[in-house]
């Protein structure tokens, strides 16, 4: 019950947000197609193989990559393993409760996983050392630490930046399938850089990168993950309302316009590594 204090938006505020959006204005001064300021810092968790901290406005997410050798999945002996996990921890918001992952934690992890897998971000076939026996298992753990809306996009950025930042030891495989670890480290085999873009429907308007307040007011949201060449590699609709076909087309166009600029931020991280 205490969380209702944070999820019930005052009626006058709701009215103000909705009526301003009809005029194309957002309460924080942004245009409908404008993202909040993004900052990405990598290498924030030194025991991780790769890590990143992303700020999207006041929303902050930390992601870490841990890599270890292990068995592949039985049905894909020639591929490495990618596991994405996310947790909406109570540290980040008074509306998150402690406990095992609930449907929101799981949805977040699965959406990010799908986007990364379908792009594909990681070339899982290049993470095999001994087919069927020894492969790299890459774990991506996503932890929002401050929730001010649009955790999905911030999480996607953090996960991708952590993967770009990650370094794993180089192994050589002997004729007897023994593994020799070298001193050298190498980056993960990354082939694409998917970017997640979430849009919210408020009345008849579509706005990009909803803030926490806008999420309280929105009718529905839609997330697109986009590859470097503009393909869609994941979609997730959320919220209680629905989208018309026209609204979806508009949202997709807005996402396609926004994605390259967001990707530039990731690429500059990649460049500075």
């Amino acid at each position: 019950m205490s969380e209702r204090v944070y999820t019930v938006i005052p009626a006058p505020r709701r009215e103000a947000i909705r009526s301003m959006i009809k005029r194309g204005e957002r309460v924080d001064g942004r245009k409908p197609e404008e993202f909040r300021e993004i900052s990405i810092e990598v290498g924030v968790a030194g025991n991780a193989e790769g890590s990143a901290r992303v700020s999207l406005g006041h929303t902050k997410v930390i992601a870490g990559v841990k890599a270890s050798l292990g068995q592949p999945f039985p049905d894909s002996p020639n591929a490495g393993v990618q596991v994405v996990h996310a947790e909406l921890i109570p540290l980040a918001s008074p509306i998150f409760e402690p406990g095992p992952p609930d449907e929101n934690d799981i949805e977040l992890a699965r959406v990010i996983d799908r986007g990364l897998r379908s792009a594909p971000a990681l070339k899982l076939e290049e993470l095999v050392l001994v087919p069927g026996k020894q492969v790299w298992r890459i774990f991506v753990d996503i932890y929002p630490i401050d929730h001010d809306g649009n955790i999905i996009d911030a999480s996607g950025l953090a996960a991708m930046a952590a993967l770009l930042n990650a370094k794993i030891p180089k192994y050589t495989v002997t004729a007897e399938s023994a593994l020799l670890k070298s001193e050298e480290k190498t980056r993960l085999p990354i082939t694409d850089i998917p970017v997640f873009v979430t849009l919210a429907k408020i009345g008849d308007a579509i706005v990009i990168d909803p803030s926490y307040e806008e999420e309280l007011v929105m009718d529905a949201r839609i997330t697109f993950a986009l590859t470097k060449d503009g393909h869609v590699c994941a979609i997730q609709k959320g919220g209680r309302g629905g989208f018309t076909l026209e609204e979806l087309t508009r949202a997709l166009e807005m996402a396609q316009d926004a994605a390259p600029k967001i990707r530039t931020k990731l690429e500059s991280v990649q460049g500075s590594l």
Partner: protein
């Protein structure tokens, strides 16, 4: 504490592997008020430890039936992020170690707080370890006290802590991960600096009674240094106070 491989933790000239003297602390730095949502927050870097703490409270107790009629309910959750450890990824579910540490951290902070001031409310302390390198519980307590103060929680004193360990028969302050793993003992200690009251004291390994007294003395000195940093962090966060409005 393992007995498997004997790792030499002291060099021939008596220095520790990271170059420190036995009574030398690792460098530490605290930042207060780093999160928007939390009522109070702090981030600490101590050696390679990186820990973030959020405090929510006083706020309504959830679930309601857990509310105490005459005081605030203090709850602490210490958790290590899966990528915070050197070895294999840590499973996200709470381990027995994390549960015990959550309890002793709560009991280390509780004596400092004026719980009676806000009956039937709760103050929740959330600790997430981003990078771990030995003595994380005392680093967490040190940061948590800053987060509590940042949240405006009424307290008798801050709380700060340090670990004292044993390396090759000698007492050493502020064990890092390697020293904790391969040393002969670990004694985490936390105190209220002004009141000189010990609120956390644990030990594993073997210590002679005089060593315990000595360890407490070493801890007290270190706690005073940590206290200065706690104060500095809080003052710096709010140093933009102006008496006149420009």
């Amino acid at each position: 504490m393992t007995e498997k491989v004997k790792v030499k933790l002291l060099t021939d000239d008596g220095k520790r592997l990271d170059g420190r003297a036995l009574n030398e602390l690792r460098p530490f730095r605290i930042e207060a008020g780093v999160l928007k949502n939390a009522d109070g927050s702090a981030y600490i870097e101590w050696g390679r430890n990186k820990i973030i703490v959020a405090v929510y409270g006083p706020r309504e107790v959830h679930p309601r039936h857990e509310a105490l009629p005459d005081r605030m309910l203090l709850r602490c959750r210490y958790s290590m992020l899966p990528f915070s450890v050197v070895e294999e990824r840590k499973s996200p579910s709470p381990t027995r170690r994390e549960i015990e540490i959550s309890k002793v951290i709560r009991e280390a902070l509780e004596p400092a707080i004026f719980l009676e001031e806000y009956p039937r409310t709760s103050v929740d302390v959330f600790i997430e370890v981003i990078e771990a390198d030995g003595s994380t519980r005392v680093a967490s307590i040190t940061a948590a006290a800053v987060a509590l103060a940042d949240a405006g929680i009424p307290m008798r004193d801050l709380v700060a802590g340090v670990s004292i360990g044993k390396i090759e028969g000698k007492l050493a302050i502020d064990l890092n991960g390697l020293e904790d793993q391969h040393g002969e003992g670990d004694m985490p200690i936390a105190m209220m600096p002004r009141l000189r009251e010990v609120t956390l004291l644990q030990a594993d390994g073997r210590f002679a009674p005089e060593e315990i007294i000595q360890a407490l003395d070493m801890a007290r000195e270190a706690v005073l240094k940590l206290y200065e940093e706690q104060r500095r962090a809080l003052k710096e966060k709010y140093s933009k106070v102006s008496l006149e409005y420009e």
